[in-house]
Amino acid sequence: MTESIILTIITAATPLLLAAIGELVAERSGVLNLGVEGMMVTGAVAAFAVSYSTGSPYLGLLAAAATGIAMAGIFAGLTIGFATNQVATGLALTIFGLGVAGMVGEAFVGRPGVGMEPIAIPVLSELPVVGRVLFAQDLLFYLSVVLTVAVALFLFRSRAGLRLRSVGDRPEAAHALGLHVGRIRTLAVLFGGLCAGIAGAQLTLVYTPQWIENITAGRGWIALALVVFASWRPLRLAVGAYLFGAVTIAQFHAQALGVSVPSQLLAALPYLATILVLVLISRNRRFTMINTPAALGQPFVPDR
C-alpha cells in the first residue's frame, strides 16, 4: 500500500515539476511567462491527438514538445521581439491555449487514450522497496528527474548558466559585455515551452489517459507559484512539487479513513503546507534577494 501511495504522489507531482522547471529557467533569464497553463493544455491535446491517431504515446510526447515550443515561440516573438508587456501577453497565451485546445480536442472527447507504459530499468527495478517506485516508472518521470538535475547543474555550475542568470539580473550589463540578451531569453522561453508541453503530455498520457476540456485544471498556475516559492532554486522546486503532491494525496486518504476534519480545510492543506515550508526555508532574506532575478518581467530593448 505504501508503495502505491508513493506512486500516486509521484504521478501527481511530475506534471507540476516538469512545467515549473521550464518556467524557472525562463524566469531566471528575466522573462515572466504566465502562459504556462496555456502551453500545458495545448501540449496535452497535441499529445492526445497524435497518440490516439498513431497509437504511439512517444510520438504524442514529441508532438506535445513541439506544440509547447511553438506556443512559447509566439510568446517570445511578442515579448522579446516586440517588447510587449509580459504579464498581459502571458495571460493572453493562457486564454488562447485553453481555447485552441478545446477546439482541437472536440473530436477526441469521450475516447479512451493510449497510456504510456512504465519502463523498468534492469537490475535497479528489482531493488526492494525503491525499485518499483523509482525505477519502474514511465519515461516522463525519469525525464523530470533528469531535467531538474540538469537545470540545477546548468544554472549554477556552467558558464552558459551564468550568462543566462546575468541576463535575468542585469540585462544592460550583459548586453555591454557582448551577450545577446534577446537570443538567450528566447532560448530560455522556448525551453520553458518545451517543458510545459511535455508536462501537458504527462496529463493525457500518464495521469488520466483521456482528453477532456480544461484537463490541466489550474496546474499551470500552481507550477508558476511553486517557482516563486522555491526562490528560483531547482532542487527546492522539486521539494515543493513533491510536498504539494504528497499533501494532496494524504488529504484524500485522510478523508477515506473518515478523519473528522472539514474536507474544505483538507483541500486547502497542500497549498498551506507548501507555503509554510517554503516560507520557512526562505526565511533568509538575503538569500531570497540574491536568488530573485532582478530584471524579472522587464522587457529589454538595447539602445544602439
Binding site: 500500500m1 502505491s4 501511495i5 500516486t8 501527481a12 486564454i95 485553453l98 481555447g99 478545446g102 477546439m103 480536442g105 472536440e106 472527447v109 469521450g110 475516447r111 479512451p112 497510456g115 496529463l203 495521469y207 488520466t208 489517459p209 483521456q210 477532456i212 476540456e213 480544461n214 484537463i215 485544471a217 496546474r219 494532496t248 494525496i249 484524500f252 486518504h253 478523508q255 477515506a256 479513513l257 473518515g258 478523519v259 473528522s260 476534519v261 472539514p262 474536507s263 474544505q264 483541500a267
Partner: protein, 354 residues
C-alpha cells in the same frame, strides 16, 4: 467562456433576423465544458434534442464553463438582454443569480436545474431523482463487492450530492446491512486529476467498487487500471471501462426541455417545480454489464418497483448518522425534506462538510 464571442455574434445575427419568423430563443448556461462527457455534456445533448425536435421554430445558444457566482450572474444577464425567451441555468450554484436576474427581466422565462428557490413568477425549477438510480447501484454494489466497502467520490456538500450518498448506502444496506461506504470530497465538479487521485486513495484503502458524483471519466479509468468495478456518472461511460462499468445513471433532459420550450411558444408556460425520475424517463440506467445475470435481474426488478411507486428509497425505518431516528417504520421522507437533505444516514463513515 471561449465560445462567448461566437455565441454572442450568433445571437446578434439572430436578433437581426428574428422579426420574420420569430423562432423561440432558448439559451443554456453550463457549469462545465460540453466536452466533459458527464453533466454538462448531457444537458447539451438535451439542447441538441430540442433543435432536432423543434427545427426552425427554435434557436438555441449556450455558454459553457460558466463559473458559479458573480460571473454566472453576468452571463445570465447577458443572455436575458440579448433576447432569449427562455434561459436554462443548469447548475445548483446559479440559484441566487438566476433569481436575481429573473427579477430584472420579468418577460423572460427562467428554468433553474437542481435548485429550490422560485422568488419570481418567471422562475421554474427542475430536477431529476438521480437518487433513485443511486439506490439501484447501491444494491448492485452490495452484491458485487467482495470487501463490503465502496468508495464514493463526491463533489460539493449540497443536498443533491448528500441525497445520492444516502440513497446509495440505503440501497447497499438493503442487501448487506453491514455495507460501508467511504466518501472523499474533491470540492470540485470537474478536475480529472483530483478525481483520479481520490479514486486511487480509495482503492488503496481497500474499496473494490467505485462510484462518483463528479463529472469526469477519470475515476472510471483508474478503476479499469486497478481492475475493480465502477459505475458511470451522468452518461454511459462504457468506452472508458468496457470491463469495468457495471451500469451508469444516465440523465436525459431532452424531453423536459422540449416540453418547456413548446410551452413558451404556446403561451402556456407557468411556474412549476418538476422532479421526475426513473418513471418519467428523466433518469435511466445504462445496460447492466460485467455482472452475473441474477444481479442484473435484481437491478431491473428494483427499477420496475421504483417506477411503479412500490418502492421509495427513503422509506423508514432510517436513522441519522448519529443513530437518532429520522424516519419511523413505513414513514416516507417528504420532497421538501429530501430537497434540503443535509445529513448522512447511519452507516456512512466520516463527517459531512457543512
Amino acid at each position: 467562456m471561449k465560445r462567448l464571442a461566437t455565441s454572442l455574434a450568433a445571437l446578434l445575427l439572430a436578433a437581426g433576423g428574428a422579426a420574420a419568423q420569430d423562432p423561440t430563443k432558448a439559451c443554456f448556461i453550463y457549469v462545465g465544458p460540453i466536452g466533459d462527457f458527464g453533466w454538462s455534456y448531457q444537458h447539451d445533448q438535451g439542447r441538441l434534442q430540442v433543435e432536432e425536435a423543434l427545427g426552425d421554430a427554435v434557436e438555441t445558444a449556450y455558454l459553457e464553463s460558466v463559473p458559479e457566482g458573480a460571473d454566472g450572474e453576468r452571463a445570465i444577464e447577458r443572455f436575458a438582454r440579448s433576447g432569449c425567451d427562455i434561459i436554462f441555468t443548469t447548475s445548483f450554484g446559479y440559484m441566487d443569480a438566476t433569481n436575481k436576474v429573473a427579477g430584472r427581466f420579468p418577460d423572460v422565462k427562467f428554468e433553474h436545474a437542481t435548485g429550490y428557490k422560485r422568488d419570481h413568477p418567471n422562475v421554474s425549477t427542475y430536477n431529476s431523482k438521480f437518487y433513485e438510480g443511486r439506490y439501484v447501484i447501491g444494491q448492485i454494489a452490495a452484491k458485487m463487492s467482495q470487501s463490503g466497502e465502496a468508495g464514493y467520490i463526491a463533489s460539493m456538500p449540497i443536498p443533491e450530492v448528500v441525497r445520492g450518498i444516502d440513497a446509495f448506502l440505503l440501497g447497499a444496506q438493503s442487501i448487506n446491512p453491514d455495507f460501508k461506504v467511504r466518501v472523499v470530497w474533491v470540492n470540485s465538479w470537474f478536475d480529472p486529476g483530483r478525481e483520479a487521485d481520490a479514486a486511487k486513495a480509495l482503492i488503496d484503502q481497500g474499496v473494490d467498487i467505485l462510484t462518483q458524483h463528479t463529472d469526469s471519466t477519470a475515476p472510471m479509468q483508474v478503476a479499469a487500471e486497478r481492475g475493480i468495478k465502477a459505475f458511470g456518472q451522468a452518461s454511459d461511460q462504457i468506452e472508458f471501462g468496457p470491463e469495468t462499468q457495471l451500469t451508469a445513471i444516465v440523465d436525459d433532459w431532452g424531453p423536459y426541455y422540449i416540453e418547456r420550450i413548446k410551452a413558451v411558444r404556446d403561451g402556456t408556460w407557468e411556474q412549476q417545480d418538476t422532479w421526475h425520475g426513473l418513471a418519467e424517463g428523466n433518469v435511466a440506467m445504462a445496460p447492466y454489464t460485467n455482472m452475473p445475470d441474477d444481479v442484473a435481474a435484481m437491478a431491473a426488478e428494483t427499477v420496475e418497483k421504483i417506477k411503479s411507486g412500490e418502492l421509495e428509497p427513503f422509506t423508514g425505518p432510517i436513522n441519522k448518522q448519529d443513530g437518532t431516528e429520522w424516519l419511523a417504520e413505513g414513514e416516507m421522507a417528504s420532497d421538501g425534506e429530501l430537497l434540503g437533505l443535509n445529513f448522512y444516514v447511519e452507516g456512512v463513515d466520516g463527517t459531512l462538510p457543512q
